[in-house]
């Protein structure tokens, strides 16, 4: 049993070992090992050219990674916190996402941008946000997130091995949760990076979640089972593209769908997923697709963040509303 954070560390280590072109870069990733220690000891073992402590400027981290990728490297950039990604936003959406398209496929940018995201750790502002929809809206980027240590270990390696630019959201409040990880499992035998996972099979309603909310959805399913309702929980894993076949199959079976995420609901991923389910599964639905999301406010002060974050009760309430339709 290892933590999700440690699983990421092992995955990064293995990527550095397997491919000499992989480099890690970011603020404090070297000697400190990152503020969450995800890159702990990697600079010590791989050197300052492989694990690069950068100046403190996010556009610079991503922009220089673009150049390194053109040069043939596979940079893995760390953005220290979700709310700090915006100075790099231009580089990500205007350059990283488009250079392959712009160059008619001549330029590949196999880079990974790791972003610890989401709330629940009692932080100050800019340290708890869920900006995934901005990136999922941008063609040319792949956007993924993991929810448990085993996936974290596999997916970070897959993201690095992918020729696509990948935004890799790490559920920071799950960094310390433990799970079984097979550190010797070959990457070639793993699920595709864009595939969703049925985290708990069920028959009565489908709860769709990703990243930090998967744990909440699973807890809700456990509680609902005591009331005799079997919820199917799907961990999306990939937010762009979304693995819709898995979702559609589940919703057609259960007839009900509830999307859960921490980000504000307005124009969020829940809206997109609800629309797609409605388009594809309309005749199977027993109730409208419901959303359980953060409110449409800036991420609040830590002492009241629990009121903002979707929790087990709000998910169960949505389940009740779905059945009450």
């Amino acid at each position: 049993m290892i933590t999700l954070g440690k699983a990421l560390n092992h995955g990064l280590r293995r990527a550095l070992e397997d491919d000499p072109k992989v480099v890690i870069m970011g603020e404090d990733v070297g000697k400190l090992g990152g503020v969450f220690r995800i890159t702990d000891a990697l600079q010590k073992d791989f050197g300052e050219d492989r694990v690069i402590d950068t100046p403190l400027a996010e556009a610079g981290i991503i922009g220089t990674a673009v150049g390194l990728a053109i040069r043939g490297y596979r940079p893995v950039c760390e953005i220290q916190f979700d709310g700090f990604v915006f100075p790099a936003y231009n580089q990500i959406v205007a350059q990283v996402a488009k250079m392959h398209y712009r160059s008619k496929g001549k330029v590949r940018l196999p880079l990974v941008i790791r972003i610890p995201f989401g709330g629940g750790i009692g932080a100050v502002e800019h340290h708890s946000e869920s900006p995934e929809a901005y990136f999922a809206h941008t063609p040319g980027l792949k956007v993924v997130t993991c929810a448990n240590p085993a996936d974290a270990y596999t997916m970070i390696q897959q993201a690095i091995a992918s020729d696509d630019p990948v935004i890799f959201f790490e559920p920071k409040r799950r960094y310390w949760e433990k799970g079984e990880v097979d550190l010797d499992a070959p990457l070639s035998g793993a699920f595709p990076l864009h595939s969703a996972r049925v985290a708990r099979p069920g028959t009565d309603a489908t709860v769709l979640a990703y990243g930090p909310m998967v744990r909440v959805a699973l807890d809700a399913a456990t509680a609902a089972a005591e009331d005799g309702r079997e919820l199917e929980v799907i961990d999306l894993r990939s937010l762009s593209p979304i693995d819709y076949p898995v979702i559609f199959e589940s919703v057609r079976r259960t007839g009900r769908a509830i999307v859960v995420h921490e980000a504000p609901g307005n124009a969020g991923l829940g809206a997109e997923i609800a629309a797609r389910i409605t388009e594809e599964c309309f005749y199977s639905l027993e109730a409208p697709v419901l959303r359980v999301t953060g409110y449409d406010i800036p991420y609040p002060a830590a002492r009241i963040e629990e009121e903002y974050l979707p929790d087990l009760d709000r998910v169960l309430d949505a389940v009740d509303r779905s059945f009450g339709w």
């Binding site: 400027a57 150049g67 053109i70 160059s103 008619k104 593209p241």
Partner: protein, 379 residues
């Protein structure tokens, strides 16, 4: 600097610049700057003629592009008129192994990299977004968002160092092109920080053409741009950007320093955009005719022509032959531009991701079926 004194009304900017060929076509043998660096060039007659041919050719191709835009054949064009010497001088100073990161006006550098001059026309005609292979020609795609490419160049240069390709006379170097307006961008400043900190083998080549669309240099800076380099820990130098010999000499020296492991240089090529920013703006709204006339007297081509004539390096028939050949190339280019086919609609979906994406693949399939549904119909 060589022309250290700034005289009101003179054509030399305050602080001077490196100049090896005066507007009247007089050669300055060598220039020694305040830091003791001596700049010169030693060209054969054939090389001098080659530079002249480059200048005339890129100007002629550019004027054809302006005409094509006016005739509605290009959506927009960013003319290089007036900046030929800065681009050809720096472009010819590059060695084959060097990598260049342009903005969107570097048609002259593109030409010097051996890329078919039709390539940028795809972008401006709207049939693609730039289709050359950056790796093959060592010339990256055009970058429209001002200054973004300076960071790409910096990262690439860091990779050169990591590959162990610096520290010798045949090492690799990188050049990043940008304008005076770009120096106000945070990303350009970040690229200076990064390059200084990592001692990257890079030359920052700023073509100060005096205007960012309508905004004059005074809206970008209160100090000469080349002086900024000191704050980042590497040398900055200003060169007469209308002097192809000086831009060549200064760029070559800076590239050699970079390839030898001596880190970055900021070059400010002091020049003037004779035309509009792009074919969409109207420069008569923001600058007066006398200013334009003054710069016309410093024209990069006429001064080299005067020098070649005076030195008897070239005669009338050479100039006539160059003009005729440039004209022929321009007309050939015109024909080829007019023949550029629109892309097949379904190519909309190509190259978003190297290995595709199930969502985009599904959209492509649906699109193709929708298109096919019109076949044989009245549409």
């Amino acid at each position: 600097m060589a022309k250290g004194e700034s005289v009101a009304g003179s054509d030399i900017p305050a602080g001077g610049f490196v100049q090896l060929l005066t507007p009247d076509g007089e050669r300055v043998d060598t220039v020694t700057t305040a830091d003791g660096t001596t700049y010169s060039v030693d060209f054969t007659d054939e090389e001098y003629r080659g530079l002249y041919r480059d200048l005339v050719t890129v100007r002629r191709l550019d004027s054809e592009a302006v005409a094509l835009q006016r005739q509605g054949e290009l959506g927009i064009w960013a003319s290089l008129l007036g900046q030929e010497a800065a681009q050809v001088g720096s472009g010819r100073a590059l060695r084959p192994q060097d990598m260049a990161f342009p903005t969107y006006r570097e048609h002259g550098v593109l030409y010097c990299r051996g890329i078919d001059p039709i390539m940028p026309f795809g972008l401006f005609r709207g049939v693609d977004q730039g289709g050359w292979d950056p790796n093959e020609f060592k010339f990256n795609t055009y970058t429209i968002v001002i200054g973004s490419q300076t960071l790409h160049a910096t990262g690439y240069a860091m990779g050169v160092t990591m590959d162990g390709k610096t520290g010798s006379a045949d090492g690799e170097a990188v050049i990043a092109y940008f304008g005076d307006g770009a120096t106000s961008q945070g990303e350009v400043n970040e690229s200076f920080v990064w390059s200084g900190v990592f001692n990257a083998p890079i030359v920052f080549f700023c073509q100060n053409n005096q205007y960012a669309i309508s905004e004059p240099l005074e809206r970008q800076t209160r100090v000469p741009l080349y002086q900024r380099a000191g704050g980042y820990g590497f040398p900055g130098i200003r060169v007469d950007g209308n002097d192809v010999l000086a831009t060549y000499a200064v760029t070559r020296a800076a590239l050699d320093n970079a390839r030898n492991g001596q880190g970055p240089t900021l070059i400010e090529a002091y020049t003037y955009r004779m035309g509009a920013h792009t074919s969409s703006d109207d420069p008569t709204r923001y600058r007066n005719g006398s200013e334009v006339e003054a710069w016309k007297a410093k024209d990069p081509i006429s001064r080299l022509k005067a020098f070649l004539s005076k030195q008897k390096i070239a005669k009338k028939d050479f100039f006539a032959e160059v003009d005729a050949e440039a004209n022929r190339q321009a007309l050939d280019l015109r024909e080829r531009v007019l023949e550029m086919p629109d892309p097949q609609p379904v190519t909309l979906f190509d190259n978003v991701y190297p290995n595709g994406s199930p969502e985009i693949d599904a959209q492509r399939t649906a699109f193709a079926e929708y298109q096919a549904s019109f076949e044989g119909s009245a549409h």
